[in-house]
């Protein structure tokens, strides 16, 4: 009986992230539009877009291989599994121990690997351009992320997100390393989600696009899956920052219905805050040139490394 309820909660979380992901993207767009003093599309517009894409036929380029058609499913699967493993409203779910934070990052790496390959499959210049730039960005963003994980893991004594959230909730005091990690994590989150100033999700201007260049050839249901994966990834990063740095309200393992209700409400509030902050940040900054991005991400890597070094050194004092 307990197993069934655990399974239900785990399954519920998987469906929850899937259901909420487009809403978060819609909210970010709405906030940006309002800050530009536009009315903006409804926040449920991403759902309508997905439904429209799913109804359309898929147009596949003539030279495409099986990899091009399989990649959206693989990308979606890896991203969904990763997003479902980050605690949202509760910690200590049934399968939360099957992958720690390092594995979650690596799962996103798997998704990116296939996305870049899919971009190169047709053999167009834009696909290669997007893939090449994406791998350059990830080659700095991923080590920065691992350094952030090191900082968090050294504070919490664990790479498991549920344990981390528990330790953070119990209170670790103000630490310089955590502040550095938070800044670095925000930079990495912007880069990983192809947001301004690293990439612009709403452009199709040839010279500036990265993510959009890779998925240029996709249409119909394949594009729907890729868009949904991107939305899931955004949700994942907001959940991740929320779970580690603002763990308040998370229902602990084996909690009652009241705790879960509280968890839902606080999670919703955190998502709204995260989306609003992202929208406001994006509205207030311009996109960078591609070759400025390594400096930006290099700063994140250095901050993460500095945070880790401080923790290593402070153990000896």
């Amino acid at each position: 009986m307990a197993l069934i309820s655990h399974l239900l909660i785990q399954g519920g979380q998987m469906l929850l992230v899937l259901a909420l992901a487009p809403l978060v993207t819609g909210l970010v767009r709405k906030v940006k539009a309002r800050l530009y003093r536009k009315r903006g599309a409804s926040i449920v517009q991403p759902y309508r877009d997905l439904a429209r894409l799913l109804r359309k036929e898929a147009v596949v380029a003539e030279g495409a291989s099986w990899l091009f058609r399989a990649a959206p499913y693989l990308i979606f699967a890896a991203t969904w599994v990763a997003a479902a493993l980050v605690p949202t409203f509760a910690t200590g779910l049934l399968f939360s121990w099957s992958a720690d934070l390092i594995a979650i990052i690596a799962l996103l790496g798997s998704a990116r690997f296939f996305l870049a390959l899919a971009g190169m499959d047709i053999g167009t210049s834009f696909g290669g351009l997007g893939a090449s730039r994406e791998m350059m960005i990830s080659s700095l963003a991923e080590p920065a992320m691992i350094m952030i994980v090191f900082s968090l893991a050294l504070v919490a004594g664990s790479t498991q997100l549920s344990t981390m959230a528990g330790v953070m909730l119990a209170g670790v005091g103000l630490r310089v390393s955590l502040a550095l990690a938070l800044i670095a994590l925000m930079i990495v989150a912007l880069a990983e989600n192809a947001r301004i100033p690293v990439d612009n999700p709403s452009t199709h201007l040839e010279l500036t696009m990265v993510h959009e260049a890779m998925v240029l050839e996709y249409s119909g249901r394949h594009l729907a899956l890729i868009e949904l994966s991107a939305q899931l990834k955004l949700l994942l990063y907001i959940s991740l920052i929320a779970c580690v740095f603002t763990p308040w309200g998370l229902a602990p393992a084996g909690a009652g219905a009241g705790a879960f209700a509280l968890g839902f409400v606080t999670y919703g509030a955190k998502l709204v805050c995260g989306a609003a902050l992202l929208g406001a940040f994006e509205a207030s900054i311009a996109k960078m040139r591609v070759f400025r991005v390594p400096d930006f991400l290099g700063a994140a890597l250095m901050l993460g490394l500095l945070g880790t070094l401080l923790l290593f050194v402070s153990r000896g004092l």
Binding site: K56, G63, I122, T124, A131, R221, F312
Partner: protein, 672 residues
């Protein structure tokens, strides 16, 4: 149930002998049409048998054997302990796969008599190094391994590049053996040279430090550690592809074994700082190797440079293990050593697979240059699938095997704040950052390799006409790809088996993993970290399957083929695709400008001229510029000077003899 029919150690020795006999037999057989399948088939069978002996040796108790061979008053000592057993498994697994692959691949060999005799000798020599238990047998096997592989490197002797590669290789190999010889001599300090004596011979801290340095030079040069790696990207690609696979995937592991045997076993308890040079060199090798792999456009050279990266990752694990052990943290050391050894196995699996794939491409298209390939996923479906598995595995992507060993290494790094010396406190996080950087760059490197060679449109007529390789080669590749997946989703049993080798070296072992619920791996403690490759794999399959089902049930299933969209400007010419060098351009610009002096020269035709614009890429390995070129020049100058030696008078010769004698006596007088 009785004991095994043949004890593993004698069995291994018989297998080695059989391989040498096969090598001799291959000389006449090579000229007959049946020679190739016979030799490769027999070496596949013998390697498979030796693999079984390796498993028995890894799980059983150490055995020793003395044979009246070699040095008269000493005999040849052999032993098979779990460490040697593990490496025996790795080497013979790779050997069996390469032999199987060779049955088909060798068909395209122009001069089989230059390959067939040396192939089994190479395999036998590598196994001989592993079971040797005295310095003579060890060095004999080591030299035999070097010579046999050298013969295979220069097998295609019509190419000047191969001959140069062979020359650099044999020079570096001799240097490595010299270093190892000195290491053994220092350890022995006058006693006999069996490993049992060496391990217990007392020696001071200075001798220990020298032995560490010599082992790093000797085994490190064979393994391809920076800056002693210069021969590796020349020699590994020069050999036939299945031999390249053996050299990269397997022979470097023999070097890792040599390092572990000397430093962890024979040199006694490590000083606190021994981990520092190993960690630093490992971290630098990992990043430098993968960065240079990103600059290459020759497929086999990309793979050879990536070997340097993976050896770096293995040495990071070994360095951590040394640091932990030197500071009394045995349990953490066991984790680090397990991570290193697991990566030894993983790298052997996927590097062999990738070299086989490169060989298949070479056979099908006649090209190793990425700029001439493309679109092979349509023409070579099986090779494309297994190469995808190999590329994903070496990029450390879950749920495959490369990720598990890197994850374990990261977990070991996270235990290292417990190390008290300041040097280690500052170095370990840096090495962690280098490891993370190397992992991310490896993903970029293999997206580039796979995307350019197998995806897109063919860039040459040969690539457009490629045909799938024979079934022996496909069989070997599919087998290795399956093992990559299995080791990734079920790492627990492998980790448990490794503990037999780790336990005696570190005095500690990881908790038993196969008892953990759901087949997770929990290296330290449940609240600390756990990973379950099987569940991640199952979840991914389920969610992809579920989504496919939902889409096919509720969404549109219509599919239309149309010309590529490409933002409205499709161009039918395959030359408009991204090439290997253009894919690497951003990374080259960000990382390689200062490190490898990578430069781009663009020559534009004047306006109105219809000549194509040309781009020329140059890069320089600082190891050549700063170390080897000056060294070569110094050696040449010295040789020039000593050229007078054959033209002296008899009086001068006698003088030299006398001076030498006096000098030696002086040394003895001061030493004692």
């Amino acid at each position: 149930m009785g004991g095994p029919l043949i004890a593993p150690l004698p069995g291994t020795l018989v297998s080695i002998l059989a391989l040498f006999a096969l090598a001799a037999l291959a000389v006449p057989l090579a000229r007959t049409p049946l020679g190739r399948p016979l030799v490769y088939g027999a070496s596949a069978l013998i390697s498979a048998t030796a693999f079984v002996f390796g498993v028995q040796g890894m799980l059983g108790t150490p055995a020793t054997l003395v044979l009246p061979l070699g040095v008269p008053w000493m005999g040849a000592h052999f032993s098979l302990d779990p460490l040697a057993g593990f490496f025996l498994c790795v080497i013979n697994l790779g050997g069996a796969a390469a032999s199987l692959y060779g049955i088909g691949y060798g068909r395209h060999e122009h001069a089989p008599q230059r390959v067939l005799p040396f192939f089994p000798a190479f395999l036998g020599a590598m196994s001989l190094v592993l079971v040797a238990a005295d310095a003579y047998s060890f060095l004999f096997g080591w030299e035999l391994m070097s010579l046999a592989s050298w013969a295979l490197v220069v097998a295609h002797d019509k190419s000047a590049d191969n001959l140069k590669a062979g020359f650099v290789y044999i020079a570096m190999a001799s240097f490595g053996t010299l270093a190892l010889m000195l290491a053994f001599a220092l350890l022995a300090g006058g006693g006999d040279l069996t490993f049992a004596t060496l391990a217990h011979a007392p020696h001071g801290p200075l001798v220990g430090a020298l032995v560490l340095a010599l082992a790093l030079l000797g085994a490190g040069s064979k393994a391809g550690l920076v800056p002693l790696h210069v021969w590796l990207p020349l020699a590994h690609p020069a050999a036939p592809s299945h031999v390249s696979a053996l050299m990269s995937g397997v022979m470097t592991k023999v070097a890792v074994y040599g390092f572990i045997r000397i430093v962890f076993d024979l040199a006694g308890p490590p000083a606190w700082w021994w981990g520092i040079p190993v960690l630093a060199i490992g971290g630098i090798s990992a990043v430098a190797g993968v960065l240079q792999a990103l600059l290459q456009s020759d497929m086999k050279r990309v793979l050879a440079f990536s070997t340097i990266e993976n050896i770096g990752i293995i040495f990071i694990g070994l360095g951590l293990a040394l640091a932990f052990r030197g500071n009394g943290l045995m349990a953490a050391g066991a984790l680090a050593l397990t991570a290193g050894l697991f990566h030894v196995l993983n790298h052997a699996l996927f590097k062999n697979l990738l070299f086989f794939g490169a060989g298949a491409v070479l056979n099908a298209t006649g090209a190793r240059d990425l700029e001439k390939l493309g679109g092979l996923i349509h023409r070579m479906p099986t090779t494309a699938v297994v190469m995808l598995v190999g590329a994903a595995a070496i990029s450390a992507l879950p749920p495959l095997n490369g990720f598990v060993s890197e994850w374990l290494t990261f977990q070991a790094i996270l235990l290292s704040p417990a190390l008290s010396p300041w040097g280690l406190k500052l170095l370990v996080p840096l090495v962690g950052a280098l490891l993370a950087l190397a992992a991310a760059l490896a993903a970029a490197c293999f997206v580039r390799l796979y995307g350019i060679a197998f995806l897109g449109r063919p860039r040459s007529e040969e690539a457009a006409q490629a045909v799938e390789v024979d079934r022996w080669s496909r069989g070997a590749m599919v087998g290795l790809a399956t093992l990559c997946v299995l080791a990734g989703i079920l790492p627990g049993p492998v980790l448990d088996a490794l503990q037999n080798a780790v336990g005696p070296l570190m005095g500690a072992r990881l908790p038993v993993q196969t008892d953990v619920a759901w087949l997770s791996i929990i290296p330290v403690g449940e609240s600390r970290s756990s990973y379950n490759g099987l569940l991640v794999f199952v979840f991914m399959v389920l969610s992809a399957g579920l989504m496919a089902l939902v889409i096919h049930r509720f969404a549109s299933r219509a599919l239309r083929r149309a010309p590529a969209w490409d933002c409205g400007f499709p161009n039918a010419d395959p030359i408009t695709q991204y090439s290997a060098s253009s894919f690497g351009q951003p990374l080259r610009r960000v990382f390689a400008r200062t490190l490898f002096s990578a430069r781009e020269e663009v020559t534009m035709p004047p306006p109105g001229d219809s000549a194509p614009a040309r781009i020329r890429l140059t890069e320089r390995d600082p190891a050549w510029a700063l170390l080897f070129t000056p060294l070569a020049r110094a050696v040449e100058a010295l040789a020039e000077r000593s050229n007078i030696l054959p033209y002296l008078t008899i009086r001068q010769y006698l003088g030299i003899v006398f001076a030498t004698l006096v000098a030696l006596l002086l040394v003895l007088a001061i030493w004692r």
